[in-house]
């Protein structure tokens, strides 16, 4: 039986098409993936992301303990700041990608992928020297409010001063009378917030956002639009673009790896070695210049030989082109380099392009 978020009934009432997503019964779309994608680019969309997991470290030493487990550096953050980070294996490959929140040096909160929740928690428990992690996933629902009209919409429902809340900053406050962590983060490339609340309050918050957002053209959005939006930004998806077989440097995520942070982190030594020796394969963004859509798992070919693999691909609704992400040898990763994607046995030309694929006009 698939797990259900506290908004499951609400999705069904809205006529969502539900699918099994890594063991969760989730909406893939309500009306149309493209329509929902465009609502987020042009107005505002709501996503139920309550399936995400939350793991907390509390008490003296919480910062030091959590910081040793993630590749980015929470010690450089202010309280009320969040960072995107990797949970890396000793080989520098991914256990997961996470967003870590620093409430205070004694309170760190880490949002993990739903599919990795149990694995991450076990991994952290094993390696957390100091403060023990607590799995708080069942205590939180999460709604992402994304799009250019998200700040106006959420501001009308809260007394928190959102204009003072920069990107990757968060605060606590009430939204529509519901106690929330209000985080200026997201996975769409648009401005917006991720609101964490108690599961029992989720439906009240969801309905208030839908009602208040009517004038903004708010749309409930499913996982389909979430995927096309993040692909246009070349945001990595765990299990597709990043996994335990590729390092953070190969994934082009060197910016979330702080090799010089005091205390180090798991995977640091492997990444230092790789950096010194050179990174031999890289995750690139490419555009298909021929006819067809690249998909996860398709081979990347050069001169008739398999040289890489597509990790994500779609027809980008905003860029209006077939776009893809994939690993290729480093020498094939420069902008403008051409190769073929094997689309069901047919070699289709593609070229490496600068990412993100989508930029605000």
């Amino acid at each position: 039986m698939a797990r259900r978020t506290p908004l499951n009934e609400a999705h069904r009432k809205l006529g969502a098409r539900m699918v099994d997503f890594v063991g969760w019964d989730m909406p893939v779309q309500y009306t149309s993936v493209i329509g929902e994608h465009e609502a987020v680019r042009n107005a505002v969309g709501l996503f139920d992301v309550s399936h995400m997991g939350e793991i907390e470290f509390r008490g003296p030493g919480a910062l030091e303990t959590a910081n040793r487990l993630i590749s980015n550096d929470l010690a450089r953050c202010a309280d009320g700041q969040a960072v995107y980070a990797g949970l890396l294996n000793e080989q520098g490959t991914f256990v997961d990608d996470v967003v870590a929140y620093r409430f205070s040096p004694e309170h760190i909160f880490i949002c993990v992928n739903s599919s990795n929740r149990e694995k991450d928690f076990a991994w952290m428990q094993e390696r957390a020297y100091g403060v023990k992690p607590v799995d708080r996933s069942d205590d939180f629902a999460q709604i992402a409010v994304q799009g250019p009209k998200a700040p106006g919409l959420v501001q009308r429902l809260t007394k928190a001063e959102l204009s003072k809340l920069g990107t990757y900053r968060f605060t606590e406050g009430e939204v529509a009378g519901v106690r929330c962590i209000i985080s200026r983060t997201g996975y769409t490339g648009e401005d917006g917030f991720e609101l964490y609340c108690a599961p029992n309050d989720a439906e009240k918050l969801w309905n208030a956002l839908l009602e208040e957002g009517q004038a903004d053209g708010v749309k409930p959005c499913g996982l389909g639009a979430r995927d096309s939006l993040r692909t246009e930004m070349k945001y990595a998806l765990y299990g597709n673009d990043i996994d335990d077989a590729h390092t953070a440097l190969e994934a082009g995520l060197g910016w979330i790896v702080k090799l010089d942070k005091p205390g180090g982190f798991i995977g640091k030594e492997a990444l230092e070695k790789q950096k010194a020796a050179g990174v031999h394969r890289k995750l690139v963004g490419f555009e298909v210049t021929g006819s067809g859509i690249p998909r996860h798992g398709y081979a990347i070919m050069k001169g008739g030989h398999v040289v890489g693999e597509v990790t994500s691909g779609t027809m980008g609704p905003s860029v209006k082109k077939p776009i893809g992400i994939g690993y290729v040898p480093a020498e094939f990763s420069t902008e403008g380099f051409t190769f073929d994607v094997d689309i069901r046995g047919r070699p289709v030309p593609a070229k490496v392009v600068k990412t993100p694929f989508w930029k605000k006009p």
């Binding site: 995927d227 067809g292 027809m315 069901r344």
Partner: protein, 129 residues
């Protein structure tokens, strides 16, 4: 609404339809199929002049998320393909039984049409699914 199944067409259990037009047969996908697929973003068409075989794959239809195969309702030679779908594949969503048609076939055995599902039988199939 997609529940309306045109009575004058024949159907496959894979959700393609076939319409006899003189000596030729026009082929498309049903409203149910396009709705299940979601936004159609690409249709891979066979070449004009190629041969297709009843029950076998003749093309591919893709939505934002999924890739689905198209199966031939009838054997024969492809005499025309709907080139307009390369620019506007979502015509399949907007008008699956009209402008969203996919190929036109010269059947090698027109009697094969009799073996396909009637609108009523196709409707029953949808109810069961």
């Amino acid at each position: 609404m997609s529940d309306t199944i045109p009575a004058d067409l024949k159907y496959t259990s894979d959700h393609e339809w076939a319409r006899q037009q003189g000596n030729l047969v026009v082929v498309g996908v049903t409203a149910h199929a396009q709705e299940a697929l979601g936004d159609v973003v690409y249709v891979e068409l066979p070449k004009v002049g190629s041969t297709i075989t009843a029950g076998k794959q003749f093309g591919v239809i893709e939505s934002t998320k999924a890739v689905s195969e198209l199966f031939a309702p009838i054997s024969g030679k492809v005499v025309k393909v709907n080139d307009a779908l390369s620019d506007k594949p979502d015509t399949v969503n907007a008008d699956p039984y009209g402008a969203g048609w996919i190929i036109e076939v010269e059947p090698s055995d027109p009697k094969q049409l009799d073996g396909l599902l009637s609108a009523q039988a196709y409707g029953e199939l949808l109810k069961k699914s």
